[in-house]
Symmetry: C2
Subunit: 266 residues, 2 copies
């Protein structure tokens, strides 16, 4: 289950807004056992959005999620960019107009549905609108040659609501049974460089998608004794198999640490 | 002055590490008057890195900055990915080896320069190593058909040190004289949808790169009165011209807000 994320917004490329959306989505997908293969961030420019969508579709992820650019303002152009990438038009969608009206009604907002607001209900031909349970702009989903393209809002609380309800279940269904177990060893006296060959051996002798093994530097004890964290994650479909793999690899790592003169903090 | 950023690391795509590097670089480039056109994040996979570098080079930014994947461990493969994208080999570089030795000496680390550590001094043919003033792994710079490709570490403190010393001066030089002035209006009684047409007019009647005008929702007063922030940035080469533009556009915005029945908070 491969997911790509495309975030749209000048504010993400000018140091104004930290891209917590991509971080949150990546965490949700990883926890469900899926893989975010790439995150792309582009500016509010039609050509840039359309190019990025086209490129992502060529890589054939299972799901492409775009965030941002669904609002009423002149620089919100994600849906037009997606439509262009798919060689389709955007069209005013009656269901999306109803969703927009509902969203105002639900929040007791007395807005007229003017031309500017109708932009939020103007979606790519063949796409399906998804109600925004928090704000106004509907999300949309459209399928292209096996890729489910979801366009969700950039406002985090709106994005999260749509993601949890409509995208996460798809990810979980695609992944199927999924167990993940992990352990961290906080080590003193072994550097990343010292333990690297041993870890390569472990990674090379196990199924690629089942083992995630990485070291992280933690500075130095008394300035010259290296400290690292060794992070091991094992994944699989069966509880017993994953637990067994974690136990076996952990034992090997502890043996290597000891052989290299390192100590594991309790 | 167009800058692209390519961040490498599984931890950035699994919800483990928030991508503050891209955010910080974008802020630095924007403050200097440059433009970050795209940020891409890929996993620690040779093919993914190499593809992303190739694609970025085809877009011909002035500068491409890669972050991460320069360390000694098996999953650090940015330099190999860059080399592959450029159709070059990686080679052990004597200057880089000296830099590595210096970095250990400076920090009183008694490391042997073993095969694993020499990986950090094995850089693309034709590239120039840049000393890491904080950690170990040298950065590199290599030119490809007018694009300056910088590969810097993923550890934020190391990345920032190299960026400030070697990349930011290039951005500033490329931008030349640059003045940016901005103002924010905190408005009550006007929604994004209401003011959108007026803002489109302003943006359309000014030079595209000189004016950044955007609204941000701020919820509702007593649940139904919309509140927004209007953010205006004017940019140019001359102090006087930019100040004049900011004053002229501000006046127009305040007129529009008032016409729409909105109030600006003092």
């Amino acid at each position: 289950m491969i997911v790509e994320v495309l975030c749209v917004g000048n504010e993400l490329l000018s140091g104004i807004t930290l891209n917590t959306n991509a971080h949150w989505i990546a965490g949700q997908v990883a926890k469900a056992g899926g893989t975010v293969s790439r995150v792309t961030v582009v500016r509010d420019e039609l050509g840039a959005i359309s190019d990025a969508v086209k490129e992502a579709l060529l890589r054939r992820p299972d799901i492409l999620v775009t965030t941002g650019g669904l609002g009423a303002t002149y620089d919100d152009m994600t849906l037009e960019g997606v439509a262009r990438a798919l060689g389709r038009k955007v069209m005013l969608d009656d269901t999306a107009v109803e969703m927009l009206k509902n969203s105002y009604k639900r929040r007791h907002l007395h807005y007229r549905i003017n031309k500017v607001r109708l932009k939020m209900a103007t979606i790519p031909e063949g796409s399906e609108p998804i109600e925004n349970p928090v704000g106004s702009a509907p999300s949309v989903v459209i399928e292209d040659a096996g890729v489910q393209v979801f366009c969700v809002p950039g406002v985090p609380v709106e994005m999260k609501a749509v993601f949890k309800k409509h995208i996460l279940p798809l990810v979980k269904k695609g992944v199927g049974s999924f167990i993940s177990k992990e352990v961290n060893y906080f080590v003193t006296g072994v550097s990343e460089g010292m333990i690297a060959p041993a870890l390569v051996k472990i990674v090379d002798s196990n199924p690629r998608d089942a083992v995630y093994l990485k070291t992280h530097p933690r500075g130095y004890y008394r300035k010259t004794t290296p400290r690292i964290r060794v992070h091991l994650v094992c994944k699989g479909a069966e509880e017993k198999e994953v637990a067994g793999m974690l136990a076996r690899i952990s034992k090997q790592i502890l043996k290597d640490i000891s052989r290299l003169g390192g100590k594991v903090e309790k």
